[in-house]
């Protein structure tokens, strides 16, 4: 699988005015401007193969959009190299543009006052798509996205969900090889979201489209992207499979049991029976939840001990959800660096 999107020690810094508030601050800036260098992306490296689907995530302000702008050629890197389909995007922005497409969830690429059909036709002209190809591609898109009734409507009269469908069609008329999706489902309702994800998955499967998705919606990521690249404070902090994240950080597991005899103090019994495993035990009526480190003690062992100690009538194993893990990563309560059994391959970027 050839690498189609490559970031090699990508760095981008900006100069921001250092301003104190108020009129005095504004005047001072006018006389003697003070600047401060902000690093939006620092030494980020990754490789994405053709046909892969990758979620590029991180908290707000982490540098996601800056990376996308570097990869689409609309920002010049301060150092390092970006390469998309073997082209350095900013050096050959127009050539790069033919290979890629970008969908911004918060901006439309349709012309506001013009019927959708005409926007699509203009895009066909801009990308010089041969008429026969254009017709075939669009017929297919209209069919799959059910755009028929929307084609004669000006973009400004579309609902957000309708507009997103049209924007996706607009992004695909020139049959790009790489599709960047910048928060595509923001503000959409659940059913529209589901439809869009389905569509993107279909396009990936049928066209060997490479998809790079930035999103805060874990549903998007979970459904569309087996691979996860995470950036925080301008640096790459994780690059690996989504399943691995859950494996690596989902080690806190819990066994929830319902006890048949509610007269006994089941919490205390469980605590003493499992004392060597140092679990966290909470109780709510007949339900007892035992949370433990699954790397040190296999769930089977915990369950065995519990069943021996308590009259268990029902039992469930509770895993930490991906959503919970990513939330903790964002909040910094789950430190990637202090991982007890680090897999050196998985942690890219240095942590000093």
């Amino acid at each position: 699988m050839a690498d189609i999107v490559v970031a090699d020690h990508l760095t981008r810094t900006f100069r921001r005015p250092e301003r104190t508030g108020g009129l005095r601050g504004a005047l001072r800036h006018l006389v003697r401007p003070q600047w401060r260098t902000v690093t939006a992306v620092e030494d980020v490296s990754f490789r994405i193969g053709a046909g892969e689907s990758v979620a590029y995530i991180g908290p707000n302000g982490a540098g996601k959009s800056t990376t996308i702008k570097l990869l689409t050629g609309i920002l010049v890197p301060s150092s390092g190299v970006a390469r998309v389909c073997d082209i350095e995007p900013f050096r050959e922005r127009q050539r790069n543009a033919r290979n890629i497409s970008v969908v911004f969830g918060q901006r439309t690429q349709l012309w506001w006052d013009i019927p959708v059909t005409d926007s699509l036709r203009l895009l066909g002209d801009i990308y010089a798509v041969p008429a026969a190809t254009f017709r075939a591609t669009l017929d297919n898109l209209v069919d799959v996205l059910d755009l028929g009734p929307l084609l004669d409507t000006p973009a400004r009269q579309l609902s957000l969900g309708q507009r997103m469908r049209c924007d996706l069609a607009a992004a695909l008329v020139h049959e790009p090889r790489v599709l960047f999706l910048d928060e595509p489902t923001i503000g959409l309702d659940v059913s529209v979201k589901a439809r869009l994800r389905e569509f993107i998955a279909l396009m990936r499967a049928t066209r060997e489209l490479t998809v790079v998705l930035t999103s805060h919606d874990l549903g998007d990521i979970e459904e569309l992207c087996p691979r996860l690249i995470m950036i925080d404070k301008a640096r790459l902090v994780y690059d690996g499979s989504f399943a691995e994240v859950t494996d690596r950080f989902g080690w806190r597991k819990a066994v929830r049991v319902t006890v048949a005899d509610d007269a006994m103090d089941s919490v205390a019994v469980a605590r003493s029976a499992l004392a060597r495993m140092d679990p966290e035990v909470t109780g709510d009526g007949p339900v007892v939840e035992v949370s433990f480190d699954s790397r040190r003690f296999p769930p089977g062992e915990v369950i065995k001990e519990l069943v021996l100690a308590l009259p268990v009538s029902d039992l469930a194993l509770v895993e930490t959800s991906a959503e919970e893990i990513v939330r903790q990563l964002y909040e910094g309560t789950l430190a990637l660096a202090s991982e007890p059994e680090p897999e050196p391959e998985a942690v890219a970027g240095d942590e000093h």
């Binding site: 010049v76 801009i126 209209v142």
Partner: protein
């Protein structure tokens, strides 16, 4: 449903030039705002009436100002207004809004030359706004203000050629100046300043021949005169024959120089560009 789609493509076997297509869409976009356009044109036309009457008072005591007769002058005033409307400020205001909101990202992820696409848009808008403005100017001017029609078809043709070159000069100038917004991100100051400077130096307010010595020299050299003064003087027959050819050549030269400048300036601005918003 595919028939809906094919409708727009009947008879088309290949895509049309991307900039022509872009200009066409801008033209249609502009038509959407025709009501606002009429109000705008009518209101600014009041300005012509005011200037017209000022000059009429001035000519009451003298037959000639710097070689312009009263008939020349009223023609000058009305045409200068018409040309100002024809070569709109769209390029500046469009760039301002897209740079400020970060909408420019959408322009730039496409295989389009930035300057070329701004010119194409400006052309699309100018056809609507300018043609309407110009038509209204000529009709009202000839019917009510006694402006004189061009002497010959040849003169009219030269005038139109000069007008087109003037359009390019102004669009490229406004483009270059608007690039400053990449540094300041707020464009109102830039817009106001450039408008004032171009108005004066193009001869839109007062013919260049009437300006004080120092300003006149400056204005004769700079490219702005090619926007208003050159086409109007050709229309009036004040420059004809070799002089007209020279003036047109000068305009063409400025178009080339400005195009080179625009591409250099854009390269610099692009290196610095910060697309606003996430």
């Amino acid at each position: 449903m595919s028939t809906d789609l094919v409708r727009g493509w009947v008879g088309r076997t290949r895509p049309i030039n991307k900039y022509v297509s872009l200009a066409t869409i801008s033209f249609r976009q502009a038509i959407n705002y025709r009501a606002a356009l009429f109000v705008n044109i009518s209101l600014t036309f009041l300005w012509v009436i005011v200037v017209y009457h000022l000059w009429r008072a001035a000519y009451a005591g003298r037959p000639l100002f710097a070689g312009y007769t009263w008939e020349d002058m009223r023609t000058y005033v009305v045409l200068a207004y018409g040309i100002n409307a024809l070569v709109g400020w769209r390029i500046g205001s469009l760039m301002m809004s897209t740079i400020r909101t970060g909408e420019i990202a959408i322009d730039m992820v496409r295989p389009l030359d930035y300057c070329g696409s701004q010119l194409a848009r400006s052309a699309g808008y100018s056809v609507v706004e300018g043609m309407l403005g110009m038509a209204l100017t000529l009709v009202v001017g000839i019917l009510f203000l006694g402006i004189r029609p061009p002497h010959s078809a040849g003169e009219a043709a030269l005038f139109i050629l000069s007008l087109l070159l003037g359009f390019l000069i102004k669009s490229l100038l406004v483009f270059c100046i608007s690039l400053i917004m990449f540094w300041t991100t707020n464009g109102f100051g830039v817009m106001l300043a450039q408008e004032a400077v171009i108005q004066v130096l193009s001869g839109a307010l007062v013919p260049i021949a009437l300006m004080p010595e120092a300003l006149r020299v400056v204005a004769s050299v700079l490219p702005m005169r090619g926007i208003v003064a050159t086409p109007v003087n050709i229309y009036l027959g004040h420059s004809s024959g070799t002089d007209a050819a020279l003036q047109l050549g000068l305009q063409a030269l400025w178009v080339v120089v400005l195009a080179v400048l625009a591409s250099l300036a854009w390269r610099r601005a692009f290196r610095r560009v910060e697309i606003q918003g996430g």
